[in-house]
Protein backbone atom coordinates (compact mmCIF):
# COMPACT_ATOMS: atom_id res chain seq x y z
CA UNK A 1 0.00 0.00 0.00
CA UNK A 2 1.11 3.56 -0.50
CA UNK A 3 1.46 6.57 1.76
CA UNK A 4 -1.94 8.04 0.92
CA UNK A 5 -3.84 4.75 1.25
CA UNK A 6 -7.47 3.97 0.43
CA UNK A 7 -9.57 3.99 -2.77
CA UNK A 8 -9.85 7.76 -2.92
CA UNK A 9 -6.07 8.15 -2.80
CA UNK A 10 -5.53 5.25 -5.17
CA UNK A 11 -7.80 6.83 -7.76
CA UNK A 12 -5.99 10.14 -7.41
CA UNK A 13 -2.63 8.43 -7.90
CA UNK A 14 -3.82 6.56 -10.99
CA UNK A 15 -4.98 9.81 -12.56
CA UNK A 16 -1.89 11.79 -11.58
CA UNK A 17 0.84 9.27 -12.39
CA UNK A 18 0.61 9.45 -16.24
CA UNK A 19 0.77 13.26 -16.33
CA UNK A 20 3.59 13.90 -13.81
CA UNK A 21 6.34 14.14 -16.41
CA UNK A 22 4.40 16.56 -18.62
CA UNK A 23 3.45 18.51 -15.51
CA UNK A 24 7.11 18.88 -14.54
CA UNK A 25 7.97 20.17 -18.03
CA UNK A 26 5.06 22.60 -17.96
CA UNK A 27 6.08 23.86 -14.51
CA UNK A 28 9.69 24.20 -15.65
CA UNK A 29 8.57 26.37 -18.57
CA UNK A 30 6.97 28.77 -16.08
CA UNK A 31 9.38 28.81 -13.15
CA UNK A 32 12.59 28.09 -15.18
CA UNK A 33 14.44 26.26 -12.38
CA UNK A 34 14.25 22.50 -12.02
CA UNK A 35 14.17 22.52 -8.21
CA UNK A 36 11.39 25.15 -8.24
CA UNK A 37 9.45 23.08 -10.80
CA UNK A 38 9.73 20.06 -8.49
CA UNK A 39 8.51 22.17 -5.57
CA UNK A 40 5.54 23.39 -7.64
CA UNK A 41 4.60 19.86 -8.74
CA UNK A 42 4.93 18.62 -5.18
CA UNK A 43 2.74 21.40 -3.83
CA UNK A 44 0.15 20.89 -6.58
CA UNK A 45 0.11 17.15 -5.79
CA UNK A 46 -0.69 17.97 -2.15
CA UNK A 47 -3.28 20.65 -2.92
CA UNK A 48 -4.87 18.50 -5.62
CA UNK A 49 -5.22 15.62 -3.17
CA UNK A 50 -6.80 17.89 -0.57
CA UNK A 51 -9.28 19.21 -3.17
CA UNK A 52 -9.86 15.88 -4.95
CA UNK A 53 -13.23 15.37 -3.22
CA UNK A 54 -14.48 18.45 -5.12
CA UNK A 55 -13.18 17.27 -8.52
CA UNK A 56 -15.96 16.84 -11.11
CA UNK A 57 -15.30 13.55 -12.97
CA UNK A 58 -17.15 14.98 -15.98
CA UNK A 59 -14.18 17.28 -16.63
CA UNK A 60 -10.74 16.20 -17.80
CA UNK A 61 -8.60 15.50 -14.71
CA UNK A 62 -5.50 16.84 -16.43
CA UNK A 63 -7.12 20.24 -17.06
CA UNK A 64 -8.34 20.42 -13.46
CA UNK A 65 -4.95 19.48 -12.03
CA UNK A 66 -2.97 21.72 -14.36
CA UNK A 67 -5.05 24.68 -13.13
CA UNK A 68 -3.86 23.91 -9.60
CA UNK A 69 -0.30 23.49 -10.84
CA UNK A 70 -0.43 26.79 -12.76
CA UNK A 71 -1.52 28.60 -9.60
CA UNK A 72 1.29 26.97 -7.61
CA UNK A 73 3.81 28.06 -10.26
CA UNK A 74 2.47 31.62 -10.23
CA UNK A 75 2.68 31.79 -6.43
CA UNK A 76 6.25 30.55 -6.61
CA UNK A 77 7.23 33.11 -9.27
CA UNK A 78 5.52 35.91 -7.33
CA UNK A 79 7.37 34.90 -4.17
CA UNK A 80 10.65 34.86 -6.05
CA UNK A 81 9.99 38.33 -7.47
CA UNK A 82 9.25 39.68 -4.01
CA UNK A 83 12.52 38.16 -2.82
CA UNK A 84 14.42 39.50 -5.85
CA UNK A 85 13.09 42.99 -5.23
CA UNK A 86 14.98 43.05 -1.93
CA UNK A 87 18.40 42.41 -3.48
CA UNK A 88 20.40 44.14 -6.21
CA UNK A 89 21.59 40.80 -7.60
CA UNK A 90 18.00 39.62 -7.76
CA UNK A 91 16.87 42.77 -9.59
CA UNK A 92 19.69 42.37 -12.13
CA UNK A 93 18.77 38.72 -12.72
CA UNK A 94 15.12 39.64 -13.23
CA UNK A 95 15.99 42.43 -15.65
CA UNK A 96 18.25 40.31 -17.85
CA UNK A 97 17.58 36.56 -17.93
CA UNK A 98 20.60 34.34 -18.71
CA UNK A 99 21.04 33.20 -22.32
CA UNK A 100 19.15 30.01 -23.17
CA UNK A 101 21.33 26.91 -22.90
CA UNK A 102 18.70 24.32 -23.77
CA UNK A 103 16.05 24.29 -26.51
CA UNK A 104 13.18 24.50 -24.02
CA UNK A 105 14.70 27.66 -22.49
CA UNK A 106 14.82 29.37 -25.89
CA UNK A 107 11.20 28.41 -26.48
CA UNK A 108 10.14 29.60 -23.01
CA UNK A 109 11.92 32.93 -23.58
CA UNK A 110 10.22 33.33 -26.97
CA UNK A 111 6.87 32.67 -25.26
CA UNK A 112 7.62 35.50 -22.83
CA UNK A 113 7.40 37.92 -25.75
CA UNK A 114 3.81 36.91 -26.55
CA UNK A 115 0.59 38.15 -24.96
CA UNK A 116 -0.49 36.23 -21.81
CA UNK A 117 -3.36 34.55 -23.72
CA UNK A 118 -1.10 33.33 -26.52
CA UNK A 119 1.65 32.30 -24.09
CA UNK A 120 -0.64 30.17 -21.94
CA UNK A 121 -2.35 28.36 -24.79
CA UNK A 122 1.04 27.44 -26.29
CA UNK A 123 2.48 26.37 -22.94
CA UNK A 124 -0.43 24.03 -22.35
CA UNK A 125 -0.17 22.65 -25.88
CA UNK A 126 3.59 22.16 -26.19
CA UNK A 127 4.86 21.73 -22.63
CA UNK A 128 1.69 20.24 -21.14
CA UNK A 129 0.67 18.14 -24.19
CA UNK A 130 -2.95 19.14 -23.57
CA UNK A 131 -5.75 18.45 -26.03
CA UNK A 132 -8.06 21.25 -27.18
CA UNK A 133 -10.72 20.07 -24.72
CA UNK A 134 -8.23 20.09 -21.85
CA UNK A 135 -6.98 23.56 -22.80
CA UNK A 136 -10.57 24.82 -23.11
CA UNK A 137 -11.38 23.48 -19.63
CA UNK A 138 -8.18 24.77 -18.05
CA UNK A 139 -8.67 28.27 -19.47
CA UNK A 140 -12.50 28.30 -19.28
CA UNK A 141 -12.89 29.14 -22.96
CA UNK A 142 -14.76 27.36 -25.82
CA UNK A 143 -12.85 24.80 -27.90
CA UNK A 144 -13.37 26.95 -31.01
CA UNK A 145 -11.56 29.78 -29.25
CA UNK A 146 -8.70 27.41 -28.42
CA UNK A 147 -8.35 26.57 -32.13
CA UNK A 148 -8.24 30.19 -33.32
CA UNK A 149 -6.10 31.39 -30.38
CA UNK A 150 -3.62 28.58 -30.89
CA UNK A 151 -3.30 29.41 -34.58
CA UNK A 152 -2.78 33.11 -33.85
CA UNK A 153 -0.26 32.27 -31.15
CA UNK A 154 1.71 30.06 -33.54
CA UNK A 155 1.87 32.85 -36.10
CA UNK A 156 3.26 35.21 -33.43
CA UNK A 157 5.67 32.62 -32.07
CA UNK A 158 7.04 32.04 -35.58
CA UNK A 159 8.25 35.66 -35.50
CA UNK A 160 10.27 35.11 -32.32
CA UNK A 161 11.38 31.48 -32.53
CA UNK A 162 12.52 30.21 -35.88
CA UNK A 163 13.66 26.83 -37.11
CA UNK A 164 17.35 27.70 -36.96
CA UNK A 165 17.25 28.56 -33.22
CA UNK A 166 18.77 26.06 -30.74
Amino acid sequence: MNGLGGTHAGRYQRLLEPILEQAAGYALAIVRHRADAEDAVQEAATKGYQAFARYDPGLPFKAWWFTILRNCCRDLVRGRRRHAATSLAGLAAEAQPPPAEEPWEALAQALDRLSPDHREVLRLRYFGHCSYREIATALSIPEGTVMSRLHGARQRLAVFYREEEP
Partner: protein, 132 residues
Protein backbone atom coordinates in the same frame (compact mmCIF):
# COMPACT_ATOMS: atom_id res chain seq x y z
CA UNK B 1 -15.97 22.79 -51.52
CA UNK B 2 -16.05 24.79 -48.27
CA UNK B 3 -13.39 27.46 -47.80
CA UNK B 4 -10.75 26.66 -45.20
CA UNK B 5 -10.30 28.79 -42.10
CA UNK B 6 -6.51 29.17 -41.58
CA UNK B 7 -7.00 28.10 -37.94
CA UNK B 8 -8.23 24.75 -39.25
CA UNK B 9 -4.72 24.08 -40.53
CA UNK B 10 -3.51 24.22 -36.94
CA UNK B 11 -6.35 21.96 -35.84
CA UNK B 12 -5.53 19.48 -38.62
CA UNK B 13 -1.90 19.51 -37.53
CA UNK B 14 -2.97 18.77 -33.94
CA UNK B 15 -5.34 15.99 -35.00
CA UNK B 16 -8.26 17.94 -33.55
CA UNK B 17 -10.51 18.21 -36.63
CA UNK B 18 -13.46 15.80 -37.02
CA UNK B 19 -12.61 13.14 -39.65
CA UNK B 20 -15.03 14.43 -42.30
CA UNK B 21 -13.78 18.01 -41.96
CA UNK B 22 -10.16 16.84 -41.95
CA UNK B 23 -10.80 15.08 -45.28
CA UNK B 24 -12.29 18.28 -46.73
CA UNK B 25 -9.30 20.37 -45.60
CA UNK B 26 -6.85 17.82 -47.08
CA UNK B 27 -8.74 17.92 -50.37
CA UNK B 28 -8.60 21.73 -50.33
CA UNK B 29 -4.83 21.59 -49.80
CA UNK B 30 -4.44 19.32 -52.84
CA UNK B 31 -6.21 21.93 -54.94
CA UNK B 32 -4.44 24.96 -53.44
CA UNK B 33 -0.61 24.97 -53.39
CA UNK B 34 -0.57 28.09 -51.21
CA UNK B 35 -2.67 26.37 -48.56
CA UNK B 36 -0.45 23.29 -48.79
CA UNK B 37 2.70 25.42 -48.38
CA UNK B 38 1.25 27.13 -45.31
CA UNK B 39 0.38 23.76 -43.76
CA UNK B 40 3.90 22.48 -44.41
CA UNK B 41 5.42 25.62 -42.87
CA UNK B 42 3.28 25.20 -39.76
CA UNK B 43 4.16 21.52 -39.65
CA UNK B 44 7.92 22.23 -39.72
CA UNK B 45 7.64 24.87 -36.98
CA UNK B 46 5.46 22.57 -34.90
CA UNK B 47 8.09 19.82 -35.09
CA UNK B 48 10.82 22.23 -33.92
CA UNK B 49 8.73 23.62 -31.05
CA UNK B 50 7.56 20.15 -29.97
CA UNK B 51 11.16 18.91 -29.82
CA UNK B 52 12.21 22.00 -27.85
CA UNK B 53 9.35 21.59 -25.36
CA UNK B 54 10.06 17.86 -25.00
CA UNK B 55 13.53 18.69 -23.67
CA UNK B 56 11.86 20.25 -20.59
CA UNK B 57 10.02 17.11 -19.47
CA UNK B 58 11.50 15.20 -16.53
CA UNK B 59 10.39 12.89 -13.73
CA UNK B 60 10.03 14.89 -10.51
CA UNK B 61 12.02 13.24 -7.74
CA UNK B 62 10.78 13.09 -4.17
CA UNK B 63 13.38 14.60 -1.84
CA UNK B 64 14.07 13.05 1.54
CA UNK B 65 16.06 16.15 2.48
CA UNK B 66 14.89 18.86 0.15
CA UNK B 67 15.14 22.57 0.44
CA UNK B 68 12.20 22.72 2.83
CA UNK B 69 13.90 20.13 5.02
CA UNK B 70 17.13 22.12 4.94
CA UNK B 71 15.12 25.12 6.06
CA UNK B 72 13.76 22.95 8.85
CA UNK B 73 17.27 21.99 9.97
CA UNK B 74 18.32 25.65 9.86
CA UNK B 75 15.36 26.64 12.03
CA UNK B 76 16.11 23.92 14.56
CA UNK B 77 19.72 25.13 14.72
CA UNK B 78 18.56 28.74 15.22
CA UNK B 79 16.15 27.65 17.94
CA UNK B 80 18.87 25.73 19.78
CA UNK B 81 21.28 28.65 19.43
CA UNK B 82 18.67 31.01 20.86
CA UNK B 83 18.11 28.61 23.74
CA UNK B 84 21.87 28.41 24.48
CA UNK B 85 22.24 32.21 24.34
CA UNK B 86 19.32 32.77 26.64
CA UNK B 87 20.29 30.06 29.06
CA UNK B 88 24.09 30.36 29.30
CA UNK B 89 25.08 33.89 28.28
CA UNK B 90 27.24 35.34 31.12
CA UNK B 91 25.53 38.72 30.97
CA UNK B 92 22.12 37.18 31.35
CA UNK B 93 20.73 36.83 34.84
CA UNK B 94 17.60 34.74 34.85
CA UNK B 95 14.64 36.51 36.39
CA UNK B 96 11.08 35.22 36.59
CA UNK B 97 9.74 37.63 33.92
CA UNK B 98 12.61 37.18 31.43
CA UNK B 99 12.46 33.41 31.87
CA UNK B 100 8.78 33.51 31.12
CA UNK B 101 9.36 35.64 27.99
CA UNK B 102 12.21 33.42 26.84
CA UNK B 103 10.04 30.35 27.26
CA UNK B 104 7.23 31.98 25.30
CA UNK B 105 9.53 33.02 22.45
CA UNK B 106 11.19 29.61 22.29
CA UNK B 107 7.82 27.90 22.32
CA UNK B 108 6.69 30.01 19.35
CA UNK B 109 9.92 29.36 17.44
CA UNK B 110 9.82 25.62 18.04
CA UNK B 111 6.09 25.54 17.21
CA UNK B 112 6.76 27.25 13.89
CA UNK B 113 9.60 24.85 13.13
CA UNK B 114 7.40 21.85 13.84
CA UNK B 115 4.57 23.30 11.74
CA UNK B 116 6.85 23.82 8.72
CA UNK B 117 8.32 20.37 9.08
CA UNK B 118 4.82 18.88 8.99
CA UNK B 119 4.08 20.83 5.80
CA UNK B 120 7.29 19.60 4.21
CA UNK B 121 6.52 16.02 5.19
CA UNK B 122 3.02 16.23 3.71
CA UNK B 123 4.29 17.67 0.41
CA UNK B 124 7.06 15.05 0.17
CA UNK B 125 4.55 12.33 0.96
CA UNK B 126 2.25 13.32 -1.89
CA UNK B 127 4.89 12.94 -4.60
CA UNK B 128 6.42 9.86 -2.97
CA UNK B 129 2.97 8.30 -2.87
CA UNK B 130 2.10 8.95 -6.51
CA UNK B 131 5.47 7.56 -7.54
CA UNK B 132 5.21 4.39 -5.43
Amino acid sequence: MNSVDPAELSALLDGELPPDRAAQVRAAMEADPGLRAEYERLSRLDAVWSAAAASAAFRPQPRAIGRLSLRFIARVACGLLALLLVRFAPWFTPAPLSSLLATAVLTMVLGWVLFRSMQATAANGAVVAVRS
